[in-house]
Point group: D2
Chain length 389, copies 4
């Protein structure tokens, strides 16, 4: 039993059992998931198939506290064995390279597990649709870890837009600029990036799949609406690269609003520079991931206001997503932990997690990727998103 | 005779005589030009046709020190009368609404005056080409006041790019976001904006002409190269507006580099938020107009460096464009004054002003506007810029 | 067994057993300690005396997963009972109001437990000295949770100063500005602050003890040296307050360097605005707690450089204190977790934790508080710090 | 006749005649005064004794447009000769090293000229008092160019404080950090600083006189009240320097409010980093000279608001001090020009310039310097400011 530390009423929770596929000793994102699962003490990691090198995976599983008999060679074994246990996992976290998301998620859902899945949900839109169907059929939930939706000030922005703080939507600007792939691939420092640049493992898209999907999801999460048409210009700016590392996408919304996404992994001086700016007829909101505690709000004709996490003028979702007082910085891991906590709440209550992206959002993400690839392949033409879905 | 105050050697200059068309008591930009002309004491305002209301224009001219007999009803009278004077102006500044730039500039050049002209140079590409021809024919110079090229740190960026500081060009991002036209036009507060929203006076483009041309020019000024193809999405986001107030433009460069311009006048919370970010294979440069004293430079794989006007690691053009020490902020008026000073130097030396945009840049700007209008009118297609020129 | 997720080698650790005194359902800092202890999975919370209301404390203990028979009415019972268990805690965390730190820590150390203690270590210098003696006598360690020393970029600053990056020390500026006590105490919103404004529970100092000690510790941690003399001006700026809520302290160092601390809890618009700026003969370093991922470094005569956690030019301590890549913000909880992790490493290795403040630092903190109170009581005179210790 | 370009009503002004003492070709501040005098076209420079090298001074005077017969060898000659001319100057600007301010200002006032004088007004408090008396006796005005009071957002802060925006004064924090004197004096790059480090020319104080007086004046200008007691710690941090280059001053106000000034010229990474933060019982205001267009305002319990020059929520003085729209940066030269324009308005109207520091402020500045020197010489004791005046 565990307690939500942010709540001043004494509440106790059943600790959920967690299985994990991927996330071996060399992977970055697996550790992030495990920390996120621990922060609020709502999960216990009980089983794992952590690595494509089975011996290394099992050694690592044991080292991080998984019982040896629940450390598996591969996900097939794990799902099969765990499905029949009394003390089986409530949920399986999938933190593998992209091409494995689909088969693992499908198998896990069909075996009766909830799933927490890394993005992009699949490497093809068809797979994504199948997975969404599988969710419906099985009655299980797939929680898609679009991390940035876990930030309290992003959730605040969503609530403010929904509550009319900016009036009618006019313009959405999302940027996601990085430089960690700016050097050519043969650069040994870029080695860890390898699978992302291999279409077989990452899917056809490069930046468009890796960070373009985050950008698209963030825009939709806050705006509360998706564009109906897009036009994409995908480029491999680093010579010799097989997939795009830079993507410009224009967006058209049904109400006439316009938008733009720029996602690049090759622009020097940018770390993880994701930002969202959204403007309507009566106001604007601006947020930068590298300063996640701050949300700028300008009602048209008033001064710019700096809203801070857990400070004044916070919406309920922002308060609920906060653990510590304003100006004591929370960050990326806490945003991730909000997704894990919300998933736990949803599983416990057997309800939907309204603030956590799900399989339908995964379908939207893949529709965005495929429309972008199609638009770009045709030389930069407008493509209907609606028809994709 | 006047002295360049920034120079510790005693230098004296002949004070140039300046005539002005437009810039009456109700206009903002006329006052800016006059201040800019005074800052370095290189000009004397001697003649003017300042207003479409002749009486008001003449009263104002006299009030600001122009001799009554050199305060004119209209530009035709002024150019005719002044052309035959012994003490005639060296240069005519044109600060009228857009539709008058062309006829006034043409008349002034043909009458033997140099011209300092507001942007956009004309309201059509054809007119722009005629004006460029006129410049060649007359041997006079047209200085185009793309103000932002006057900022020392913009000039520094240009020099750094030319000197290889970022390697081969990869990506250009320009944004120009404002909110002063965010309210519907019937709003009395938007009254001063009226001519800009009237296609007869401003030209067909709205934001694309007013601030899109600044953005395009800035990108070309710093990159040292223009794109070969563009695709534009122009929108009137404020209901009922006759011209675009928001523009997204994608750019393709000959070497495979890509770029993007976003120009909007309707996004709440943005004042005059112009920025340029330019990235190459070995580094990146970033500049924001609202913090014009700072230029961020990141050589790939090194920390971000904050370069400051007149501080360490300044290039010659940045030093030359500075009047006072680093961290004593210079601003918009000093950037403008740099254009005036460079124009004076060029006129005095009878040489080109390499750092001041000219009639050819004006042609490029109008080619950009027309290509954008064409692209957008066709539903958002790629248009060759080369063929326009 | 647990694994350090940041390390790509498979390492396993014995999970330490943790007891806790204080940190009941109404307390903020107890939850912070529990989250910090979980982030790296190095601790298991096994026993607690969490509340001055015994029933509430026990109910809460059980709710957060402590076995009912190890949920105690008070710390005396807990220490007595746990000391004789086979599976007793390795370490006791003390998160009570200030006046209880001393008796609990003393009892815990004497019963053979390591201690993780909130600051200020005690409410009097005499008590602090006794505690430091107790540490020596028992051979146990007292880890003092001066949170801000856990930030990677603070640790980087310390290493850079030690390595000569700023030359000989000249000037230290620390500020710690808040506004949460800006309203008068009778304000119901300030209720949670009550014990801090009660000299019986908080000690004689108000801001000087609560955040002045953090400031002093941070300065000493990074500078690597403490001042020899100080002069303090302590004020209760809010009418009717019994303890200081604003403190200015001037610092003199043995080498002639000078410094200043300003700590205030009543200045509107400040959240948790702690900053450290430190300058020497050849460079300067600047850090702000609200942007903890950034460290500004200026070698004299070079541009300002922005160093980022886990980015280029990071020192070993900064890298070791990072869990995730640069620009994925870590924050306050991760800084706290670094203290817990370092404590675990130290306990496991039976070595000192060089980057975690200890009982000697606690003595320094109380010497600072008492010297400040003495200086201020005498009307603002210089007081030797050396003689205090 | 000239016109205030910011005003949309046609207004004309008599152009004032300006004489200048100091400000030769090698001086920085002389050029600043001349630009400031030109920006609004309210002055004509007609006479000058610009240099302690008479030939260089006269050559320079002629080069910048002064008639040869009004270019003088020294100030005595100039004042004598100009006083008897029909077309004599309205006002004499004094831009010499500090030790000459007093004799030149006294002679100019007594000869019937208004004076625009650089700070600090004199090098001794006694001289300052004599000068204030001279002002009273002669009925002329001495305008003291504490530049930073000319910034629109500083003037806005003053008006807001006066109008109760922050409630009762609690705390004033002023910092003025530079690094241009951080290298030892023998450094050739520090040559231009020479007179400032020579007590015979600069007065006894170093940083305390040069930038401490600016800091003190700024605090008083905005707070609307001066402290009654101060305590100072003055230090020469650079080995071998004859005057202080770093100063910490604590302030006590009559109402119990407290304050602090830190002025240093030797801290690497700081350009001209002057800031003012002022807090009261109901709000706070914060301003940084290097971002002069922004004023942060936080009403207690509300979000931080970013007020911008010439934007919404501007006070009359801020609007009047603006020439161009918000977000088109004005800077240091425009702040200076505001002082010149206000002086012109005052002279023209024969009224006091309420927003421009005067001889009484000069006396306050010297009282501050002398009290600081006394406090520091006595080892850091509290000194009454009141008794100084």
């Amino acid at each position: 039993m565990a307690l939500n530390d942010t709540n001043m009423q004494i509440q106790s929770h059943r600790k959920l059992k967690l299985g994990m596929v991927g996330g071996g000793v060399t992977a970055f994102i697996g550790g992030v998931h495990r920390i996120a699962s621990r922060i609020d003490d709502r999960y216990e990691l009980v089983a794992g198939a952590l690595d494509n090198d089975p011996e290394r995976g099992k050694a690592f599983a044991v080292a991080i506290g998984i019982a040896p008999d629940r450390a598996y060679d591969n996900y097939e074994d794990m799902i099969k064995a765990e499905a029949s246990r009394e003390d089986k996992p409530d949920v399986i976290a999938i933190v593998t390279p992209n091409f494995l998301h689909y088969p693992v998620a499908k198998a896990a859902l069909e075996a009766g597990f909830h799933v927490i899945c890394e993005k992009p949900m699949t490497t093809s839109l068809d797979d994504a649709k199948v997975l969404a169907e599988t969710v419906k059929k099985t009655g299980k939930t797939l929680f898609l870890t679009h991390t940035y939706t876990g930030y309290p000030m992003v959730r605040q922005a969503r609530e403010m837009v929904a509550n009319g703080a900016i009036g009618e939507l006019r313009r959405v600007q999302v940027e996601y600029a990085q430089d960690w792939l700016a050097a050519p691939d043969e650069d040994p420092e870029a080695a860890s990036a390898n699978w992302r640049n291999d279409p077989k493992k990452a899917g056809q898209g490069g930046a468009i799949g890796d960070i373009g999907t985050h950008s698209y999801n963030l825009a939709a999460f806050v705006a509360g609406v998706e564009p109906t048409e897009i036009l994409a210009e995908l480029t491999a700016l680093v010579p010799g690269r097989q997939v795009d590392d830079d993507a410009s996408i224009l967006l058209r919304y049904a109400n006439g609003a316009k938008g733009s996404i720029w996602a690049s992994q090759v622009v020097a001086g940018n770390g993880n520079n994701l930002s969202l700016r959204i403007y309507g007829s009566t106001g604007g909101l601006e947020w930068w991931q590298e300063k996640p505690e701050e949300l700028w709000y300008t009602p048209l004709g008033e001064p710019r206001r700096l809203l801070r996490r857990n400070g004044v003028e916070n919406t309920p979702a922002a308060v609920a997503g906060s653990r510590i007082p304003a100006a004591h910085p929370e960050g990326y891991l806490e945003a991730f932990a909000n997704i894990y906590r919300d998933a736990a709440d949803a599983i416990e209550a057997n309800e939907a997690a309204v603030l956590v992206p799900n399989a339908d959002d995964g379908v939207s993400g893949l529709a965005f990727v495929e429309a972008s690839l199609e638009s770009s392949a045709k030389g930069g033409v407008w493509v209907s998103l609606k028809e994709k879905k």
